[in-house]
């Protein structure tokens, strides 16, 4: 069964540094998402992306965050200047449209 793959599985960075989290969505999917989950808390929507532009973003997704689909397969989340409170699991997800969301296994981001 096709799956969403995310790299790296764990990223440690220092406060103020830039990080890029990478995702390869399922190949025929058109809608892409980032969610995050702070340890022990619920999964929260960050941003949705369709047709090479952001469809919707949450209040969490401020100017420090950006997304990009640099080629036909990758979907990235960049955090420009990380803060301690950015430490969380970041999940990429994709869907073909009006169909279930498929999540990757996440990238654990630790900001020290």
């Amino acid at each position: 069964e096709p799956e969403v793959t995310q790299t790296p599985s764990h990223q440690v960075t220092q406060m103020g540094q830039e990080v890029i989290l990478r995702c390869v969505p399922i190949s025929n999917h058109l809608y892409f998402y980032w969610y995050r989950q702070i340890l022990g808390q619920k999964v929260e929507f960050l941003v949705s992306f369709y047709n090479n532009e952001i469809s919707e973003k949450s209040e969490i997704f401020d100017d420090q965050f950006s997304v990009e689909r640099p080629d036909g397969s990758n979907f990235t989340l960049k955090i420009r200047s990380t803060k301690l409170e950015d430490s969380a699991m970041y999940f990429c997800a994709s869907t073909a449209g009006n169909s279930p969301l498929h999540f990757g296994n996440g990238t654990r981001l630790t900001v020290t």
């Binding site: 969610y35 619920k42 999964v43 929507f45 369709y50």
Partner: protein, 113 residues
């Protein structure tokens, strides 16, 4: 209005028992209600989902009960097994909201032998 409230926070059930997790919502525009199962170190995986035009949906040992007037829905796991031990999240989505899911706070289920 966008919140989905989930209870209990944690649940311990004996093997073979029934696990019941409850969720409530306020936004009447929500029209799709999935349940996700998450194992440690993994992403959420869709377990079962329901739309508000039906009151119950069953898939194997998993059943969603939906009460539209009360704006509540619940997950029942029959004959619970140790392999069901995981965190369960209810979620909700509305048409026009793309696939933006609003998640509940999660229930940690432990099934004991």
């Amino acid at each position: 209005q966008q919140q989905v409230k989930q209870s209990p926070q944690s649940l311990i059930v004996q093997k073979g028992g029934i696990s019941i997790i409850n969720c409530a919502y306020e936004n009447t525009a929500f029209d799709y209600f999935p349940w996700y199962q998450q194992f440690p170190g993994k992403g959420p995986a869709l377990l079962i989902a329901i739309r508000p035009d039906v009151s119950e949906k069953k898939e194997g040992r998993f059943t969603i009960s939906f009460n539209k007037s009360a704006k509540q829905f619940s997950l029942h796991i029959m004959d619970s097994q140790p392999g069901d031990s995981a965190t369960y999240f209810c979620a909700a989505r509305y048409t026009g909201g793309g696939n933006k899911l609003t998640f509940g706070t999660g229930t940690q289920l432990k099934v004991e032998l």
